[in-house]
Symmetry: C2
Subunit: 206 residues, 2 copies
Amino acid sequence: MSPRRSVAETRLTRDRIVERGVAAASVDGLEGLTIGQLAADLGMSKAGVLGHFGSKEALQLALLDAAAAAFARIVWRPAELEPPGLPRLRAVCETWIDYLEHERQIFPGGCLFTTAAIEFDARGGPVRDAVARLHKLWRRRLVAEARTAVATGDLPRGTDPEQVAFELVGLFMALNQEIQLFADPNAAQRTRRALHRLLATAEHQQ
Amino acid sequence: MSPRRSVAETRLTRDRIVERGVAAASVDGLEGLTIGQLAADLGMSKAGVLGHFGSKEALQLALLDAAAAAFARIVWRPAELEPPGLPRLRAVCETWIDYLEHERQIFPGGCLFTTAAIEFDARGGPVRDAVARLHKLWRRRLVAEARTAVATGDLPRGTDPEQVAFELVGLFMALNQEIQLFADPNAAQRTRRALHRLLATAEHQQ
DNA sequence: CAATATAGCAACCGATCGGTCGCTAATGGG
DNA sequence: CCCATTAGCGACCGATCGGTTGCTATATTG
């Protein structure tokens, strides 16, 4: 029914698969996702879907890549306009909250990285490695901004940047759960209150 | 090979299935768990395993029940010796940390409730309902202890108990991830530091 | 000791899993 | 304009999925 298309059209098809795949994986997980169901959703054959990637594992990695790109674009890119340190850190936190609250179009089942981390944290293999790498990357960025904030005096002297990043990640996980499991409309406000405590009035022992 | 056994033996078999099932589900998730693999691990037939529960969903609910009982025994029971309020809250936090750090025998893949919450938070059905109910139950208990702590003056006047519980849950999720995904040996210490800030020196706006 | 109840097994069910293969049909390069 | 390339399809693969059925063999009941 759909033989060879132009290069642009081919790219489009692949993008369509990835977009739908990311959405499906955010609901059912990267393992729970099945190629047959994805193909049916797209009105394609399994072979047509799989042909773009070669294997389910390669598809999973492609979905992670695409989701990471979306995350970078939505959460990190806007914050780059702010100066490094506390202003940028605050900006990231705000875009992160918005991301968890409003990106249900891209991730209807909640943050794919939270889902994937939990799903693969007790396994081995390339997908687990990719998930861990992404989490480490963003963690490092949070730590870097916190460190700068301490250096500039925007966070109290003696504050441990790793500690700040650790607690930030916990808050975002709690927010994601509050939204997905409890659909609590106050969750974002609670997160902002905790952020205020963490980034403004806190004492962090070494 | 194994015909009718005594009542005690029957109970024992069921318990063996549940124990192994909880461990397997903590690694692969409640959906990722398969009856065939579980049966093979136990040296049983699929029908022999399924006969005790009737369906996979009933098995999943039984696993959740058993895991909840273990959680209550390990995390909450010891803390009941402490007086209500801040002392009990502190005790629960400490047993909770120990649980996440050391209960890899029961939950080799990490806290089953964290896994199950993420796995089912975008779905419907009885399993999701049970998971949400358990999370709400423990959340309520945290809130109750925090409220008592405020009433006794052990936490600052104006502290929002719901806010405290929210942040506590975030810390435990972050700790679970730090252990499972990164195998960070400093994670427990970081969690204790955050707890100290949260339960001792914090200001909680209404 | 006889009758009943039942834990567990082996075999099987249709459906679906991830994946392969041969083909069709349209396209872009020579 | 023709030919090599290739996106995508339909059919199929063996394996496994959750679940059912009929049976065996034993423990309990009377």
